[in-house]
């Protein structure tokens, strides 16, 4: 059931078209809490970045404060609030680790709260340690590029695995892969 909240300005329970009240044309809040819904995306782990970007631009085109420079205070407030909201949601979805947490939460599971970075898997620990050691002893730009390419490929494969585990609702596997993924992302970032 859809909850109908009346327009903040004219108080009528009217249809909202493109986030504007169809009676008084005033901008309305998005009224969606999870990032997938804000961008109207299917709740899948792998997302189409281009599609997300297009929708991000469409929403910012509606809500960005530049579009409300001559509007009344209340509309400015909604614009500033929703524009930041859209920015936050966009950045969360672009982040492959944050996306795991969002999806787990949406499916009713707790995302690893505190032990996010602990290893339960000994092989994984060894693999990461070895990679880290290799990064520490990089001698030239070529070697760096090579390792970086390797890491990017590893990340791509893990993302695929996570995606298929989400389809099969294999939650413990997802949690393990999520630890590995966040470590790989960190190593990749440090290579910059």
């Amino acid at each position: 059931m859809e909850v109908i909240i009346p327009c903040w300005n004219c108080q009528t329970d009217t249809k909202v078209v493109d986030f504007r009240c169809s009676i008084c044309n005033k901008i309305q809040n998005i009224r969606k809490t999870n990032p997938y819904d804000i961008f109207n995306l299917k709740q899948c782990y792998l997302i189409d970045n281009e599609e997300l970007e297009i929708k991000y631009f469409q929403l910012q085109n509606i809500f960005h404060p530049d579009k409300f420079i001559n509007s009344a205070e209340k509309e400015k407030e909604i614009s500033a609030y929703e524009s930041s909201n859209i920015n936050n949601a966009y950045n969360l979805l672009l982040n492959n680790v944050d996306r795991i947490k969002i999806l787990l939460k949406l499916k009713g599971y707790k995302a690893n709260p505190n032990n996010e970075e602990s290893f339960t898997d000994k092989d994984l620990l060894e693999e990461i340690m070895e990679l880290q050691n290799r990064c520490m002893s990089i001698e030239n730009e070529n070697e760096k590029v090579k390792i970086k390419t390797e890491i990017i490929e590893k990340i791509r494969i893990i993302e695929l695995e996570i995606n298929s585990n989400f389809e099969k609702e294999k939650i413990p596997e997802i949690k393990n892969l999520s630890v590995k993924l966040s470590y790989l992302e960190k190593i990749k970032k440090n290579l910059n």
């Binding site: 631009f57 960005h64 579009k67 500033a80 936050n88």
Partner: protein, 595 residues
């Protein structure tokens, strides 16, 4: 058919005008889009590059109105540079050792720009967009904003200088793709990576050095010339001799773009000297600074996760990029096309004028920018906890929950810092906020949610709510005593809206700001006033300040000024008593120690 004829002239008069102001370290430029054209504002000497120089002689003079030969000593140059240190610090402005802050000094430049714009356009234009270096922190940004507001400008946006330039290239030169805007101004270096699409201009990331600019190049060249040609007498040179050498070295720098070798003749102490500078020498002197800018650029590309292959070219902005060595070095290192066909001294103002027109009159163009520096709070042990990381899209709102350390604690101090260093003391302290009126509870129980909102101008607003008390009571946040930006903006807006046609809004706004500052100050020391003043004094102070508050809603400049003066007079006694009391306290303490 008739309708069209009626519609056309109407339409024209309906567009709002908005100045695009590039307040620069060396020069300032103002332009405005009228109809389909952008025009540059000229001063009375028909110049549109206005030197950012203020002279406090008998009267205040700005720009080309100053006779530098005569007023060199009493002129203040490059005031923009001081904003990165402390916009509210004190600078000596004349031989009498009078002091003013960078905000107050820059205000004179903005007032002057407003005056020449009004003269040139034959109408008062209050709305403007001001450009700031992309790598400016919040304190410098709000300093510039306050400065311009005090001059009576209704500042509709602050936008980043490289972003404004990219906007101009995107609209006028139809550039599409990923571009790096390399902006070397007089005092700052900015590098921004943008994605330019149809109707969409998105900053991917930005970096720079707020204390590196063409001024530094000029200084290096001057040092070289002094050491090479004037070594025995370099310490005996007069101010005006140094100035003429400075001019010579500047012109050498600017002219080395077309030739490989330059000989300039200068006369110092009645002796002619030929200064010869070759491209090789320039390369040697400037190498370090240019290499530094290239390193910053390289790091930005990596931070943005973009491959060099994906970049379509460099856009050069800022007078210093006229130096042929810069495009040469960039080309050598990055192997990219370089664009500089739009006047590097004027393109920033030009882009701001285009964006200003869009803002006030509506358009399909969308400009999305980022914050250059991470924003965070100081945690125990003096480390910085990041709340908003750099290169986050703006506007951005982040919330953080705080709690108390001690039982019954009713206030919490929060230090807000900006920068990339781990240790908070190495970053910029934006402000210390005291959350007070927290309901007394056992330690760790209160939950104070603090909201940090960084708006599209890059200005930070902080608010807080005590969640634990059930009712969402707003916590009082005490900051510095001055008015905040939103208070000032409202003052300016209401003054402009209600101003009579022939009134000078600038002076009205100035008197209103002075009045609000005083009222604010008095509210801040209310408790002390009650203990140190007589009943009658308190009554008088309250009466006048209430009258003043009422008068602020009108636009009666004279009344506001008279009441402000009265209030100042009435609180004078109190101020003296406060100083005495502080002195007593001080003496008391001293004696205690002696015992």
């Amino acid at each position: 058919m008739n309708l069209i004829n009626i519609d056309e002239p109407n339409k024209k008069s309906l567009t709002s005008k908005c100045l695009g102001i590039d307040f620069g370290t060396t020069n300032s430029v103002c332009s405005i889009k009228i109809g389909e054209k952008v025009i540059f504002i000229e001063d009375s000497k028909k110049m549109n590059l206005i030197p950012s120089i203020v002279c406090f002689d008998k009267t205040v003079k700005v720009g080309n109105d100053i006779d530098l030969e005569k007023n060199l000593q009493s002129s203040i140059f490059s005031i923009k540079r001081y904003f990165t240190d402390n916009p509210d610090g004190q600078i000596v402005i004349n031989s009498k050792s009078d002091c003013l802050s960078p905000v107050d000094i820059a205000k004179e430049i903005f007032s002057y720009l407003k005056k020449i714009s009004n003269n040139f356009l034959n109408e008062e234009v209050n709305d403007c967009i001001i450009t700031v270096p992309a790598y400016y922190d919040e304190r410098a940004r709000s300093g510039i904003m306050r400065s311009a507001l005090m001059s009576g400008f209704n500042v509709r946006r602050l936008i980043n200088e490289p972003t404004a330039a990219a906007f101009a290239y995107g609209l006028d030169k139809k550039k599409r793709g990923k571009f790096l805007v390399y902006d070397l101004g007089g005092g700052t270096f900015d590098i921004s990576l943008l994605n330019l699409k149809d109707n969409l201009f998105k900053v991917i990331g930005t970096s720079g050095d707020a204390k590196l600019g063409g001024d530094d190049l000029d200084q290096l060249l001057l040092d070289y010339i002094l050491n090479t040609y004037f070594d025995p007498i370099k310490n005996d040179l007069s101010h005006s001799e140094i100035l003429s050498l400075k001019r010579a070295s500047k012109s050498i720098k600017e002219n080395l773009q077309s030739v490989n070798n330059i000989v300039a003749e200068v006369t110092i102490k009645n002796k002619k000297t030929n200064i010869e500078i070759s491209m090789n020498v320039i390369e040697k002197i400037f190498n370090e600074i240019i290499t530094k800018t290239i390193k910053i650029t390289d790091q930005l590309i990596k931070d943005c996760n973009v491959k060099v292959d994906e970049i379509d070219g460099f856009i050069l902005v800022g007078g210093s990029t006229r130096l042929a060595l810069i495009p040469k070095k960039i080309k050598e290192y990055f192997k990219k096309d370089i664009y500089s066909e739009m006047d590097p001294d004027r393109v920033v103002s030009y882009g701001a004028a285009l964006h200003g027109f869009d803002l006030l009159n509506g358009s399909n163009n969308l400009l999305l920018d980022v914050t250059p520096l991470s924003l965070g709070i100081e945690t125990m042990g003096g480390l910085m906890e990041k709340i908003i990381p750099r290169n986050s899209n703006i506007p951005v709102v982040k919330e953080q929950t705080f709690t108390t350390n001690e039982n019954g604690q009713t206030s919490i101090k929060i230090s807000i810092i900006q920068g990339e260093r781990e240790t908070s003391s190495k970053n910029t302290l934006l402000g210390e906020f005291i959350l007070s009126d927290i309901e007394p509870k056992p330690a760790g129980i209160p939950r104070i949610k603090v909201r940090f909102s960084l708006d599209v101008d890059g200005i930070l607003y902080v608010s807080a709510i005590d969640e634990s008390s059930g009712n969402e009571k707003n916590i009082v946040i005490k900051t510095n005593k001055d008015l905040n930006i939103s208070e000032m903006k409202k003052l300016v807006e209401s003054s402009i809206k209600n101003a009579k046609e022939d009134m000078d809004t600038r002076l009205l706004i100035e008197s209103k700001i002075k009045a609000s500052r005083l009222i604010n100050e008095i509210e801040n020391v209310k408790d002390q006033i009650e203990t140190l003043c007589t009943k009658k004094d308190i009554e008088n102070i309250n009466k006048t300040s209430n009258m003043l508050k009422k008068e602020m809603k009108t636009n009666n400049k004279e009344r506001i000024e008279t009441l402000t003066d009265n209030l100042n007079e009435q609180t004078k006694n109190f101020a003296q008593r406060l100083i005495d009391k502080n002195f007593e306290n001080f003496v008391g303490k001293d004696l205690d120690i002696l015992e």
